[in-house]
């Protein structure tokens, strides 16, 4: 089956006074219907800019410098990046919607939850206010907000953080989009509330068969959500594979080290293996492997050339000249 969304050679740069920040470089991936693709990475790795580029939410000094974003949800292939603005408005919120990290800033404090829900519904579905109200109530029930009719008239400040995020999810799903982008949707929430929201998102994603792009820096969260995972570092994809391969068979040194740097709840560990050095500064970086300065497996050519994102195993893509090989992994396990 054709993927619903294909991102091809996407690069988004920011033209700052200090120089060009190459936030996203040459990103490629596909998202299918009813699939969850996770993007993990640290601050500045380009994960948010990637999805904002898909929604065309990049403003000056940022610019999408190259690439195509093919959307196939409307019965034909369309390049989102070359659509006129009014067409894009029809796609945003209807075909592709987005849930942001902080629900307090993504809701307008001056309008009731009902108004904000109905605005999206009326904009995209060609219904009167009464029907929109009914759809709105139905959506609030779907995201398990109690006393939905009453809550339609409440303002965002009257909701707790978890409830706000539920309302934002209700708005995002109100027009039954084919693609849902969730940018760190639970980072601002407490862990018991995070568990509720993740549970809800999993259920709704299955029910609506939405293709979901899920962005997080938390490897635990991504393990519970994603079918496939993109690991980003320094504005580039370092490894793309199924969730199982990323966690049990990581080939890129960065992924490998990242997994050993995080503490685990279910195990007693003696030490964490820290990754030395700092995340890269993004200004005027040369086209070499961004992880090279911190990489223990660095070869001479790593800081001279950029490795290709190559398919090393079926469906398992790695950008590295010197990937972690099988024998070293088993050695690492016996050491533990």
């Amino acid at each position: 089956m054709e993927p619903i969304l294909s991102v091809r050679n996407l690069s988004t740069w920011f033209y700052m006074e200090e120089g060009v920040v190459k936030a996203v470089n040459d990103v490629n991936f596909d998202l299918h219907e009813n699939e969850v693709v996770g993007i993990v990475g640290e601050t500045g790795s380009g994960k948010s800019v990637t999805v904002r580029s898909i929604m065309r939410l990049i403003h000056k000094p940022g610019k999408i410098v190259s690439g195509k974003i093919i959307y196939r949800g409307r019965g034909k292939e369309e390049d989102i990046l070359s659509l006129p603005d009014d067409e894009m408005t029809k796609i945003r919120g209807k075909e592709i919607s987005m849930v942001f990290q902080d629900p307090l800033t993504s809701l307008n404090p001056l309008y009731t939850i009902g108004d904000q829900l109905m605005e999206t519904i009326i904009q995209h579905q060609n219904v009167d206010r009464k029907t929109a109200w009914e759809i709105g109530v139905e959506m609030l029930k779907k995201v398990q907000i109690p006393e939905a009719e009453k809550r339609m008239m409440a303002y965002p400040f009257e909701f707790s953080g978890g409830m706000r995020q539920r309302a934002v999810i209700a708005i995002a799903l109100s027009c039954n989009p084919k693609v849902l982008i969730a940018d760190e949707p639970t980072t601002a929430l407490d862990v018991t509330i995070q568990a509720q929201i993740l549970d809800l998102m999993r259920d709704l994603q299955k029910e609506f068969k939405t293709g979901m792009l899920f962005i997080t820096h938390d490897l635990g969260v991504i393990a519970s959500m994603a079918d496939r995972i993109i690991v980003m570092y320094g504005g580039r994809q370092m490894e793309v594979a199924s969730a199982e391969d990323i966690f049990y068979n990581p080939l890129h040194p960065y992924t490998h080290m990242l997994l050993r740097a995080i503490p685990r709840l279910d195990k007693k560990q003696d030490k964490l293996e820290a990754i030395p050095g700092q995340p890269p500064r993004m200004i005027e970086v040369p086209d070499v492997c961004p992880f090279a300065p911190r990489c223990p497996r660095r070869l001479d050519k790593c800081s001279k050339e950029l490795p290709e994102l190559a398919e090393m195993e079926p469906g398992h893509y790695v950008r590295c000249f010197n990937p972690v090989v099988e024998s070293e992994k088993s050695e690492a396990i016996t050491n533990e």
Binding site: M163, V191, A195, H217, G220, A223, I262, A274
Partner: protein
């Protein structure tokens, strides 16, 4: 067994709620910390965990005497400091230091790293001259993995992880015995978090430090601490050795917290049974009757709605405040 280095007894911190403009009427209290007791021994890492608003940070700040306790005793190194005044507290300020969550907010942007590190040395008269202070500051920078040439730079020239290293160097400059770590890595990326955590472990070993570690990240707590106290709405609901509490949690809230914490392993994540709690944490102004957790508790009984459960001892190093212990006789 040696004497505890920190002994907290029935510590309470209430923030009054007032009404009225000229004549303020006391209409209630936010009971941020409500009757907590525990002991910490030398070289231990004691973790306070819980969700936002559970009182973990207020507890730490009260113990540091950054805010005054409403009631209760805080014994540090054998002395009750809960009623000490500024001058009496001065020697204890040296013994107890804190590393905050946000290194950007805790370093003065107008001071160079050199000034930041030498100020406490000169203030507490740990060194005699500026030159000695300068030398000691360079040594501190080396200890936390920075270079001498960083001395003349300003905080904004550093990354988040480096700023946190500077904050640690400053805390260590006065040779403290107890370090309060208030979410010291939650503003940092995972790859940098591990560096900072390893630094804490190294210093604990080398300098015999005692840590009070405040965090909402249970995986990190499991890794770094020996003892853990789980707080809910100002009270400790479960306390004990970290392995025992995490492997055999008794309080339903502890169980829920543990099952809600994600594990970076897709197979485990798919098979895990989760306890999904309904609703959110109630307001600390209008706490529920009886056990504060009963409105969200899947095992609540009639008794839970009426009376707050006392602390039951499960083993030498594990206590829990829940009626389930009585019923099941764990």
């Amino acid at each position: 067994m040696n004497e505890p280095i920190i002994k907290v007894q029935n510590l309470k911190k209430y923030f009054p709620i007032t009404k009225g403009f000229m004549i303020k009427k006391h209409v209630g209290d936010v009971k941020a910390v409500d009757d907590i007791s525990f002991e910490v021994y030398r070289k231990e890492t004691f973790a306070l965990v819980g969700e936002s608003g559970c009182g973990k940070t207020t507890a730490a700040r009260t113990m540091l005497r950054l805010i005054d306790p409403t009631e209760g005793k805080i014994e540090i190194l054998g002395q009750d400091i809960s009623n000490y005044n500024r001058t009496q507290l001065l020697p204890f300020r040296r013994k107890m230091q804190i590393v905050f969550q946000n290194p950007i907010g805790s370093l003065n942007p107008r001071m160079t790293i050199g000034q930041i590190l030498t100020e406490p040395l000169l203030f507490h008269k740990i060194v005699e001259t500026k030159q000695e202070a300068y030398d000691k500051a360079i040594e501190l920078l080396r200890m936390v993995g920075l270079k001498p040439y960083h001395m003349d730079r300003y905080p904004h020239q550093f990354s988040g992880g480096q700023k946190q290293r500077i904050a640690i160097a400053r805390a260590l400059s006065v040779d403290p015995e107890i370090l309060f770590l208030d979410e010291p890595t939650s503003a940092l990326d995972v790859s940098v978090q591990a560096q900072i955590i390893n630094l804490f472990l190294k210093f604990q070993e080398e300098l015999n430090l005692t840590y009070i570690f405040i965090s909402h990240d249970l995986s990190l707590v499991r890794f770094i601490s020996n003892k853990v106290a789980v707080m809910y709405l100002g009270r400790i609901v479960e306390i004990g050795d970290v392995d025992e509490v995490f492997e055999n949690p008794v309080h339903p809230y502890t169980k829920a917290l543990l099952s809600a914490s994600p594990i970076p392993d897709p197979k485990i994540e798919k098979q895990r049974k989760r306890i999904i709690l309904t609703g959110g944490v109630p307001s600390p102004i209008a706490r529920p009757s009886g056990c504060f957790f009963h409105p969200r508790c899947p095992f609540k009984t009639e008794k839970c709605e009426k009376e707050y459960p006392k602390m039951y001892k499960i083993s030498e190093n594990h206590q829990v405040s829940c009626y389930l212990v009585e019923k099941e006789g764990v």
